[in-house]
C-alpha cells in the first residue's frame, strides 16, 4: 500500500484525510528524530557516548505508527523507536540523559543507551533480547480486554524477530484470544547482516500472519500516510473487538545496525543508494511542499531548532554527574533484601576501581 505517490501527490482512494497541519507535524517529528539521531551518531564517534542504535530511513514507519495510535494505546518498542516515544512528548533531555547514563537517566545508568521506557507515556521497556516484547504486548492487550478498557497496543519488532520463539508464541496467543494488539513489523531488510531473504523462505513477512489467522497488511513503510492509515485501521479493528492485526512496514535500515556495526562488509553501496532515493523524509517533504505548507526556509529553520534543542540537552547531560553507585543495588526487588543491603555496603565501603584503558584486561 502506498498513499504518497512518487510525484508527491496523494492517491485519492487511499488518502486517510489528515489535515495539512497534522501532516506537517508528522514531517517535523520525523526531521527531529533524524536530527537527534545524527547528533547521537556523532557523539558516539567522538567517544562521548558509548553506543547508539538509530532509525535512519525508518522514521516514517516509526512516527507514522505512533501517530495513528491513540494516546491511551500502549507501545511496546523494539529499540529503534525513540521517535515514537518523543512523539508522545517524552522530554528530550531525559532521553539524552539516558544516553549518558548520568544522574538524570531514568534507569540510573543501569542499561545501555537507547533502552528507554515510560509508564507515563504508556511505552514499555526496550530490551535487547530480540522478540521478548511481543508476548508482553499480547499480555498487555489481554489485560486491557479483561479489564474492559478500550485500549490497544502496538508492538514494534524487526524482520529478524519473526524467527524468534516469542513471535510465534505471541502471534498464536493473540489469534486464539483475539487480543487487541497491532504487530508492527519493521521489515528493514536486515537483521544485523542477514538479509530478510535469508531470514525465512517466504517472500513477504505478511504471509506469516496467516499461520495464526491474523489479518495482514503490507505497506510502504517509507510512506508516512500509508503507515498511518494501516495502523489506524488496525486500531479501529481492535476497538471494534476484531482482535489483532499484522502490519508489515516495508522500509530500509539506511545506517548500520548500530554504531558498533560496519554494513559495508555485507551489502553494496548501490543497494543503499537506491534506498536513499526512497528516503521517507524526501517523499513527505515533496508532498507538503506541493501543498505549499513547507519550504526550504522552513526546513532550514526547523533543522536549526531541532539541532539547537539537542545540543542544549547534550550540554546539560554532559554537565551532570554520573548516576550514583548505590543505584547498582536498588530496584532488584520492591524492597531491598538483606543480601543486597550487605553487598551495597561492601561495595560502597570498599576501594574504588582503578581507571583503565577501555577494553584492556
Amino acid at each position: 500500500m502506498q498513499v504518497i505517490r512518487d510525484d508527491g501527490s496523494l492517491d485519492p482512494n487511499l488518502d486517510p484525510g489528515l489535515s495539512i497541519d497534522q501532516v506537517v507535524a508528522l514531517y517535523k517529528a520525523m526531521v527531529r528524530t533524524r536530527v537527534i539521531d545524527d547528533r547521537l551518531n556523532r557523539l558516539q564517534r567522538q567517544g562521548r557516548i558509548a553506543f547508539h542504535v538509530g532509525s535512519l530511513g525508518e522514521e516514517a514507519a516509526i512516527v507514522g505508527s505512533a501517530a495513528a495510535l491513540r494516546d491511551r494505546d500502549w507501545i511496546a518498542p523494539c529499540y529503534r523507536e525513540v521517535g515514537a516515544l518523543l512523539w508522545r512528548g517524552y522530554p528530550l533531555q531525559r532521553y539524552v540523559d539516558h544516553m549518558y547514563g548520568n544522574a538524570g537517566d531514568p534507569v540510573r545508568g543501569r542499561q545501555m543507551p537507547d533502552h528507554t521506557f515510560s509508564r507515563e507515556h504508556r511505552y514499555l521497556s526496550v530490551s535487547a533480547p530480540i522478540g521478548t516484547q511481543i508476548p508482553h504486548a499480547v499480555g498487555v492487550a489481554m489485560a486491557a480486554k479483561k479489564r474492559g478498557l478500550d485500549e490497544c497496543i502496538g508492538v514494534f519488532f524487526g524482520d529478524g524477530a519473526t524467527s524468534s520463539n516469542d513471535f510465534h508464541a505471541a502471534m498464536n496467543f493473540a489469534g486464539v484470544y483475539r487480543a487487541p494488539v497491532l504487530f508492527l513489523c519493521r521489515n528493514n531488510g536486515y537483521a544485523i547482516s542477514l538479509p530478510t531473504s535469508e531470514q525465512t523462505a517466504v517472500r513477504t513477512l505478511a504471509e506469516k500472519s496467516a499461520a495464526y489467522r491474523i489479518p495482514a497488511t503490507r505497506v510502504d513503510g517509507n510512506d508516512v500516510l500509508a503507515v498511518w492509515k494501516a495502523v489506524r485501521d488496525g486500531v479501529d479493528r481492535a476497538a471494534e473487538g476484531g482482535g489483532p492485526s499484522f502490519i508489515e512496514l516495508m522500509t530500509y535500515r539506511m545506517g548500520g545496525h548500530s554504531t558498533s556495526d560496519d554494513p559495508r562488509v555485507y551489502r553494496t553501496e548501490e543497494e543503499v543508494d537506491a534506498w536513499r532515493r526512497a528516503d521517507p523524509l524526501l517523499r513527505l517533504r515533496k508532498h507538503i511542499e506541493q501543498r505549499a505548507a513547507w519550504s526550504a526556509e522552513l526546513e532550514a529553520d526547523w533543522q536549526a531548532v531541532c539541532d539547537a534543542e539537542v545540543r542544549a540537552c547534550v550540554r546539560q547531560a554532559e554537565s551532570m554527574p554520573a548516576s550514583e553507585l548505590r543505584e547498582v543495588f536498588r530496584d532488584v526487588y520492591a524492597e531491598q533484601p538483606w543480601h543486597l543491603r550487605e553487598q551495597e555496603a561492601e561495595c560502597l565501603g570498599g576501594p574504588r576501581a582503578r581507571d583503565h584503558e577501555e577494553g584492556s584486561s
Partner: protein
C-alpha cells in the same frame, strides 16, 4: 478449617485470592476443563470463567511472556508450568525479562506474577517429570523462590506470593500433593516470605531441607535420635531471599550442618548454603558441612529411590557429621 492435602490447600489459596481480587488470573496448559494434570485448578474455570482461567496453547514462552504483559498492565497472573522440567522453553522470559523488568525501569514498571510448578521426584516420572531446577532461579537476581512442604504453609505462602510485587517461582513438591492431610483454614491467610521454620529443635546438628525432602530429614532425625543425636530440622519454605539468620544462628548453636536437596549436587543450592554457613559461622563449625543430594546425572527412573536423598542417605550423613 478443613482437612486438606497439598493440592486442595493450593486450590483453596487460589480460590481465595481470585475471590478477593479480580485481577488475579490463572494461565497455563490444561488448567481449565481438566483442572490441570494434578487437578490443582479443578473447578476454578467453572467458578471464575474462561477469561480468568486461561487454558493456553502449548507454549511456555507464551504462558510466561504473556503473563508478564498482563502483570505490566494491572493483572496478577499466576502461571502454571505443568512440570518444572518444562519451564526451559520459557526460561528466557523468566530470567531475562520478568527478573529484570523492575531493575531496568527503576521500578517504574514491574511484574507481580507467580509461576507455580510441580517439581521433584518420587512419582516414577523419569528425567522429564522429576527435575528440581531451583538453583537456576536462585542464581537469577530479581526472582523470589518459594517451596512449601505442607498444605498449611503452601496456602499461606501462595497467597503471600500473589500479593508480592515481585515475580515469584513457586515450586510445589508433587510427591507431597496427596501424601499428607492437615487442618487448613478455609479463609485467606498469609505466611510471610523469607521466614524459615524450625520444625524440630535440636542441639547437635542443623539439618536444612525444603519441599518433599523435609519429611525425609525429619524421619532421619527420628532415626538418629535413637543413637543419641539430636537434630534441629529447618524447613526453609522460601529459598530466596533466604532467612539467613535462622540458618546461621542454628549452626552457631549446633556447630554442624547438613543440607538436603533433590537437585543434582554440583551448583545446587546446597553448595550455596554450605558456603553461606562457612562464611558466617566458620569458627563455630565443628565438622565439615555435608550435602545429601541428588546425584550429578539426569534424573533416573527405576532406581529413583536410590537417587533421591531419602532418609536412608540422610541418617548416615547426620551421624557422620555428629561424630566427626
Amino acid at each position: 478449617m478443613s482437612e486438606m492435602n497439598l493440592v486442595q490447600a493450593i486450590q483453596s489459596g487460589l480460590r481465595n485470592a481470585m475471590r478477593e481480587d479480580q485481577d488475579v488470573v490463572l494461565i497455563g496448559e490444561d488448567i481449565g476443563k481438566l483442572g490441570g494434570v494434578f487437578r490443582v485448578t479443578q473447578g476454578l474455570q467453572e467458578e471464575f470463567g474462561a477469561d480468568r482461567v486461561l487454558d493456553t496453547p502449548l507454549s511456555e514462552t507464551g504462558i510466561l511472556g504473556v503473563a508478564i504483559g498482563m502483570a505490566l498492565h494491572g493483572l496478577r497472573p499466576v502461571s502454571e508450568i505443568q512440570f518444572a522440567d518444562f519451564i526451559y522453553p520459557g526460561f528466557d522470559q523468566l530470567v531475562n525479562e520478568a527478573a529484570k523488568y523492575r531493575y531496568r525501569t527503576a521500578s517504574e514498571l514491574h511484574v507481580p506474577m507467580v509461576v507455580r510448578t510441580p517439581y521433584g521426584g518420587g512419582i516414577r516420572g523419569g528425567q522429564y517429570h522429576s527435575q528440581s531446577p531451583e538453583s537456576l532461579f536462585i542464581h537469577t537476581a530479581g526472582l523470589k523462590v518459594v517451596c512449601p512442604s505442607n498444605p498449611h504453609d503452601a496456602k499461606g505462602l501462595l497467597i503471600q506470593s500473589i500479593l508480592d510485587d515481585d515475580p515469584v517461582v513457586f515450586f510445589e513438591p508433587k510427591r507431597v500433593y496427596r501424601a499428607l492431610k492437615m487442618e487448613v483454614p478455609d479463609e485467606a491467610y498469609t505466611v510471610p516470605l523469607s521466614e524459615a521454620k524450625i520444625v524440630r529443635p535440636g542441639e547437635h546438628v542443623t539439618c536444612v531441607a525444603w519441599g518433599a525432602m523435609l519429611f525425609e530429614a525429619l524421619s532421619a532425625a527420628d532415626e538418629v535420635r535413637k543413637q543419641g543425636v539430636d537434630v534441629e530440622v529447618i524447613d526453609l519454605r522460601t529459598l530466596w531471599p533466604l532467612d539467613i539468620d535462622t540458618v546461621v544462628n542454628s549452626v552457631k548453636k549446633t556447630g554442624r550442618f547438613v543440607v538436603v536437596h533433590e537437585a543434582p549436587r554440583t551448583c545446587g543450592f546446597g553448595g550455596e548454603l554450605v558456603t553461606l554457613v562457612v562464611e558466617r559461622a566458620f569458627l563455630h563449625l565443628e565438622a565439615p558441612p555435608v550435602r545429601v543430594t541428588g546425584f550429578d546425572t539426569p534424573f533416573p527412573l527405576t532406581h529413583e529411590r536410590e537417587y533421591l536423598p531419602l532418609a536412608h542417605r540422610i541418617a548416615p550423613a547426620l551421624l557422620q557429621t555428629a561424630r566427626y
